[in-house]
Symmetry: C2
Subunit: 232 residues, 2 copies
């Protein structure tokens, strides 16, 4: 996307100096815990979520390798969201002060991190609109497309068939539905010939129809980075 200078590369590598291994299901950061570290996800998939006081959970975002996590630790004393591993995972923790130094030394990286935050923001607003204004079927379809697209960014060769890696309960927590209703929607989407399912793997049979059902917009397309300052 953008060619980095050696100095920038070095600065980014500093963020990934240390490694921590996380078990599937383990929690990296719990809501309301004191936090001062940020992380970069190196391997595996994770999610961020919030818990409401009636015990229900809202999944905010799915995290894939390369994603920066817990950026809110920059700002808040106590974490506003929980971060959990969906699969075994490897993360690289780093301190706020490292980030602070990076912003001072490498303005273009600072700008790129802003770009990254804005993409994330757009994804959040898409999900917001989906929760507020679309049907259960559309929301489930949107999750399927989103997960496939994010996986394909990491593995270009990914075919129409892939392992979703989410339980229906988790899909429900991401879409604001019950697991029971997610099941019915998946069945319906399958019966309408948009997807096929077998043993945890999903095939996008009629992707066009699925995108229409989901009201889908690709937020990683249409970027314009011509304004970035020069690298150091």
């Amino acid at each position: 996307m953008v060619a980095l200078t050696p100095g920038e590369h070095g600065a980014l590598e500093q963020l990934e100096e240390r490694e921590r291994h996380i078990r599937r299901g383990a929690t990296l950061q719990r809501e309301n815990d004191v936090c001062s570290e940020l992380f970069i996800l190196r391997k595996g998939t994770m999610m961020s979520s919030v818990l409401l006081d009636d015990g229900s959970r809202q999944i905010l975002r799915f995290l894939f390798p390369g994603d920066m996590m817990a950026i809110s630790s920059l700002v808040y004393r106590e974490a506003p969201e929980t971060i959990t591993a969906l699969t075994d995972a490897v993360v690289c923790p780093f301190e706020r002060s490292t980030m602070s130094k990076l912003i001072g030394d490498h303005p273009r990286l600072a700008a790129l991190i802003m770009v990254y935050s804005q993409i994330e923001r757009a994804a959040l607003t898409d999900r917001l609109a989906a929760l507020g204004r679309t049907s259960a079927k559309a929301r489930v379809a949107a999750i399927l497309i989103e997960m496939r697209n994010r996986m394909r960014m990491l593995d270009k060769g990914l075919s129409k068939t892939f392992t979703l890696g989410l339980t229906q309960e988790e899909i429900g927590d991401a879409t604001g539905l019950t697991a029971v209703h997610v099941n019915r929607m998946l069945r319906q989407i399958e019966e309408e010939g948009m997807i096929a399912r077998e043993s945890g793997r999903v095939t996008l049979v009629d992707e066009r129809a699925l995108q229409r059902a989901a009201n889908f917009v690709d937020r990683y397309a249409g970027l314009d980075l011509g304004w970035l300052p020069a690298g150091r």
Copy 2:
């Protein structure tokens, strides 16, 4: 919150050099239009929203004086959201290149803009959780509290009574409800003694109960800005 250096003050003032006046109801930026300007809201209130292709609208955020708007213009060629004036308003437009220069010259301001984005992100995730997992009554209560708090940040003296400045249709578009149901929820909240209403003005009678009903978290509290780099 943070004491700025004269250099930083100067840079921020540059952002507010020009002024543009906007009529109530007018659109500053339309979804999918080409965009290259950012704005700072100086006077009035505005909102950002997205339109779905069935014609329904989701309001993403209400904007108050001091807010930076259309930050996504930094990143996207085409605007992902519409920005509209709720009242007559004054905005200060500036170019992406100005922002770019600011990031290079004033790392601490860059960091502060990141902080700002993260607060906004937290507010978005709160609303996401509300839409996904809370009842209509809770969502309406949350909007009431949110609006009052944001207004009070600008006018410290604001009492329990204030002018909401939103139609029930707009409250519905923000909460993912129909205007009809918003009306019923307002009535119910009123009947339960949490608020009083008269001619467009709202009084928070039992704020504690309202906050409980709304599951409210103040995202402008609990900040920790000790990590910021030095000013220039």
